[in-house]
């Protein structure tokens, strides 16, 4: 019972309280403790990423094994995953590794790594293209859902229209003062609501954090004994 429930609760309470306290101690030791904890958090988080990778790999392996519809695409995921990871690990992330330069003597330390090629010419173009696709779908979704049926819907529709038009030359062509109207909307009513929402979110974060530290909120430990 101690290892299963009490120890995890103690660990989160101790580190949570220690990191809150260090914020109020203006001493170099407190600062170095903060940096140490930050490093530890980054290291442990890296392993959580590995768990996620394992889960994805297992999912696609199962799809291939069971010949689920579209299983051929799972091969693409696994091959691209392993090739990119191998290129990155052995070739370097942002600058070539010594091993890579030994294998390919013509490679200089300032050269672009193979991983960066895949990032710049495969990952980034595909990502931005997928996001740009949303421009079409948002337009069609807006057409279907933004019917001015109530005062609130009309307000949302009008504001979206003004902000969209006010940010392009066409808006200024229609009405010269439109960019100023957009500026005013963003600076006052938009800012007020955003601030209200943000204050609410921060209060929520603080309340949940305190509940976790005190052991009231313990869903992160999962079910079971």
């Amino acid at each position: 019972m101690f290892l299963r429930r009490t120890l995890p609760l103690l660990v989160s309470a101790i580190f949570g309280i220690a990191l809150i306290l260090q914020f109020f101690v203006p001493h170099p030791a407190s600062k170095s403790f903060y940096n140490l904890m930050l490093d530890w958090l980054i290291i442990v988080s890296a392993f959580t990423y590995l768990i996620a990778v394992q889960s994805t790999v297992e999912l696609h392996f199962t799809k291939i094994k069971r010949k689920v519809e579209g299983w051929q695409y799972s091969i693409i995921v696994l091959v691209s995953l392993f090739v990119t990871a191998l290129l990155g690990v052995f070739g370097g992330a942002f600058m070539p590794t010594t091993l890579w330069m030994k294998i390919f003597p013509s490679v200089k330390p300032t050269d672009t790594t193979p991983l960066m090629y895949t990032y710049l010419y495969m990952q980034m173009p595909m990502q931005s293209t997928i996001f740009s696709l949303l421009a079409f779908y948002m337009a069609s979704a807006a057409f279907r859902s933004f019917r001015a049926r109530s005062f609130d819907a009309t307000l949302l529709l009008v504001t979206a229209g003004i902000v969209t038009l006010g940010r392009v030359p066409l808006g200024e062509f229609i009405y010269k003062g439109l960019p100023d109207v957009v500026e005013w909307i963003l600076k006052y009513p938009n800012m007020a609501a955003q601030r209200g929402i943000l204050i609410g979110v921060q209060l929520g974060i603080i309340a949940t954090s305190i509940k976790i530290i005190l052991g009231i909120e313990r869903k992160y430990l999962g079910g079971g004994k």
Partner: protein, 201 residues
């Protein structure tokens, strides 16, 4: 007009077209690009974690600086894998508790700092229409999200004002998101017509 001769530009252009083919309908080209993106993104993440975390924060301090303190987070990280062994799977709760505990410990002071900054920024320095809008907007938005009181009578009227402000903010956010997506679309078309096909300069 000079079509690109660079192999990588061709790769980027063909992948861009494969994804845009979804505008017609879901097809194998789109699916290929989609799954490829998933694999590459995960592989990229592994590489970055390997170099920025495992090598920089674990291997180098341990081997070169003889800093054995990094063994603690390393051990905590390895405990994550205990979840694959049924009889000791509960041990994976310890690193999760560390991440959650340290994460909350870090977030509480920064949240308070942020909260006070937002409240301070809401306080009007001079009495004008803009400041009035901000104060009324912030308070009414907060009242709208305050569910401990029934939204009736005066509270109901204030929360009604809050909804109005929220709708304006959502409209602005929507307009802004559309513009961001359209900018991305323009960027991709520029890439295809300029970098790949060389039609425009």
């Amino acid at each position: 007009m000079a079509i690109a001769t660079n192999f990588w530009i061709w790769i980027a252009a063909l992948l861009t077209l494969a994804i845009y083919s979804f505008l017609y309908k879901d097809n194998p080209f789109y699916k290929f690009a989609e799954y490829l993106l998933v694999g590459i993104s995960i592989g990229y993440g592994i590489s970055v974690y390997w170099h920025n975390t495992i090598i920089t924060k674990v291997y180098n301090p341990l081997v070169y600086d003889k800093n054995f303190l990094v063994l603690i987070p390393l051990l905590l990280g390895l405990l994550m894998f205990s979840r694959f062994f049924k009889n000791v799977s509960y041990l994976s709760r310890i690193p999760i508790a560390f991440v959650v505990g340290a994460g909350t410990g870090l977030s509480v002071p920064s949240s308070f700092e942020f909260l006070f900054k937002q409240v301070y920024a809401t306080m009007p320095l001079k009495l004008d229409f803009g400041s009035l809008i901000i104060v009324v907007g912030v308070i009414s938005t907060l009242v709208y999200f305050f569910f401990s009181l029934e939204h009736k009578g005066f509270v109901g009227r204030v929360s009604r004002v809050g909804i109005t402000f929220i709708m304006v903010a959502f409209g602005a956010a929507f307009g802004y998101t559309i513009m961001a997506r359209v900018s991305l679309f323009i960027g991709r078309i520029q890439f295809l017509l300029s970098d790949w096909l060389g039609i425009i300069k």
